[in-house]
């Protein structure tokens, strides 16, 4: 291989350096120690609309129509040329005659190379105006989503309010005691869903804290169905925890039905006592129970009537893959709804994993 004479090698090295600068895809300038442009990338000319004649050999601050003559730009270049500092990600606003205000990010560096007599600066200039605008659009969209969600929740709350009001209004106006009872039950069911909506709106998340939810639910039922609060108490016990909104709406409806049922049948003729709603987590499994210390179940099984409430509880329990058990509590009755998916042998492990993930209370 033939060795080039030194002068040819020097020329080759210089033209390589120039070619590197000119072909840079992001805007790049090579300056001398007096801040004159030695070379500029073609991309610089395109992005900032400066013709090549206005660039090479001219002072950098006089490029274009003088829009680059910005005091901060001058001082950061002077600092770089004197070797005081390397400039990393300096932000600058350029008032471009054709394109308006441009947000720039500037990197400037004094090059270290063999020729000590000629100072050279490398200046990379990125125009981030459009990227920043895109980010803003994304942030705005996110904010818009939150507002929309709030609006939807507000409408749901309003609609539930109207439905509950209509039911109660009808209950007031009807002449029949039986119909009134049914309408009041329906009102309690709607309010059970309503209590959940309030909890969801309060947290702003998809999960619900069970304790306050059940407590507010029971308070609402007690207020509308217990006439003598001194003799009959309704309380909530159990561990605190969060549970998915879709599951808690079913749990709330089950609690509503079981409490209404206990209020109707366990304490006849003004009998006093207490009803306890309890919820226990055991990992992904849980047990919801409603116990009373009332008169207990009828001894004659044929006397047990299965009303709408019972069928609602059965249907919801099935939906939650849970089992309903009714037992004598001596005194009174205890109805429990137990979900124990994990104890079963999983036919499909992936399905099981999904179910567990969905039903595990978020920490």
């Amino acid at each position: 291989m033939a060795v080039d004479p030194p002068q040819v090698a020097e020329h080759a090295a210089l033209s390589l350096a120039m070619a590197v600068v000119v072909s840079s895809p992001s805007p790049l300038l090579l300056l001398d120690g007096d801040l004159n442009v030695v070379a500029a990338s073609a991309s610089f000319g395109l992005v900032f609309e400066v013709g090549p004649d206005d660039l090479v050999g001219r002072p950098v601050l006089e490029m274009g129509g003088g829009e680059w003559n910005i005091p901060q730009f001058r001082s950061l270049l002077e600092a770089t040329a004197s070797g005081v500092a390397n400039i990393e990600a300096y932000e600058l606003v350029l008032r471009h005659p054709g394109r308006g205000l441009r947000q720039l990010v500037i990197h400037a560096q004094r090059l270290v190379y063999l020729d000590l007599n000629h100072t050279r600066l490398m200046v990379a200039i990125a125009d981030v105006t459009d990227a920043r605008a895109d980010e803003k659009v994304k942030d705005d969209a996110l904010r818009q989503n939150v507002i929309l969600l709030q609006e939807v929740r507000h409408r749901v709350a309003n609609s539930l309010q109207i439905i509950a009001s209509v039911l109660l209004h009808n209950a007031r106006k009807t002449q029949s005691d039986e119909t009134r009872g049914h309408l009041k039950d329906a009102h309690s069911r709607v309010m059970s869903v309503a209590a959940l909506e309030r909890q969801l709106a309060g947290t702003g998340e998809g999960a619900v804290e069970l304790q306050p939810y059940f407590t507010s639910l029971c308070e609402s039922i007690a207020a509308s169905m217990i006439t003598d609060a001194q003799h009959l108490t309704l309380s909530v016990t159990g561990l605190e925890g969060m549970i998915d909104g879709r599951i808690s709406v079913s749990l709330g409806l089950i609690v509503t039905e079981l409490v209404i049922n206990a209020l109707k049948h366990a304490f006849p003729h003004g009998r006093g006592g207490r009803i306890v709603v309890d919820f226990e987590f055991r990992g992904p499994n849980w047990t919801l129970s409603v116990s009373d210390d009332g008169v207990g179940m009828p001894t004659d099984p044929t006397a047990i009537r299965t009303g709408l409430g019972t069928s609602i509880v059965a249907a919801l329990a099935q939906q939650l893959e849970a089992e309903v058990q009714t037992a004598s509590a001596h005194p009174g009755t205890r109805v429990s709804v137990t979900h124990s998916h994990i104890a079963l042998v999983a036919e499909d492990e992936q399905m099981l994993a999904v179910a567990v993930a969905r039903k595990r209370p978020a920490a």
Partner: protein
């Protein structure tokens, strides 16, 4: 429910959803309150408040047309009428806690609403023995002007 005043405390309900307003009125009347004519308008509500000086105004935040319950609450406060927000817009209600004394978020049951009114009226007359409904959020009571200043 109109100009005829009975002995019980007087309430003003300002709510654009007429069915919700009617159910609330019926329950409050049953509980012995005097409820002024229902309205969902700022100006009508204000005129009613000026004429009858209710003991408490139950105000929804979203009202008829472009009327806003928070603006109304400011005007009612200036008249010395304490305001209880009844709205699902909980965060807006909270942001206006200086013009109202409490917030009952929708959806509420009317029995909760009656308990809330009982509780607040008792509290304003210095009696804090009544139970506070769990869903009622009470703001700073210094927000109320004593009734004697209202006249």
């Amino acid at each position: 429910m109109n100009a005829l005043r009975k002995p019980g405390p007087t309430l003003l309900i300002v709510e654009d959803e007429v069915l919700a307003a009617m159910a609330l009125r019926d329950e409050l009347e049953e509980a012995g309150y005097n409820v002024l004519n229902l309205t969902g308008h700022h100006q009508t509500a204000l005129a009613s408040a000026e004429a009858f000086t209710p003991d408490l105004a139950l105000v929804n935040i979203q009202l008829d047309g472009r009327d806003d319950g928070i603006a109304l609450a400011e005007d009612l406060k200036a008249l010395g009428v304490p305001v209880l927000f009844i709205s699902g817009q909980v965060s807006r209600a909270r942001s206006a806690e200086t013009v109202a004394i409490a917030s009952l978020p929708k959806p509420y049951s009317v029995t909760d609403a009656v308990m809330a009114v009982n509780y607040l009226l008792a509290l304003m007359s210095g009696d804090d023995s009544l139970p506070r409904p769990r869903i009622l959020e009470v703001f700073d009571l210094p927000g109320i002007r004593p009734r004697s200043d209202a006249a």
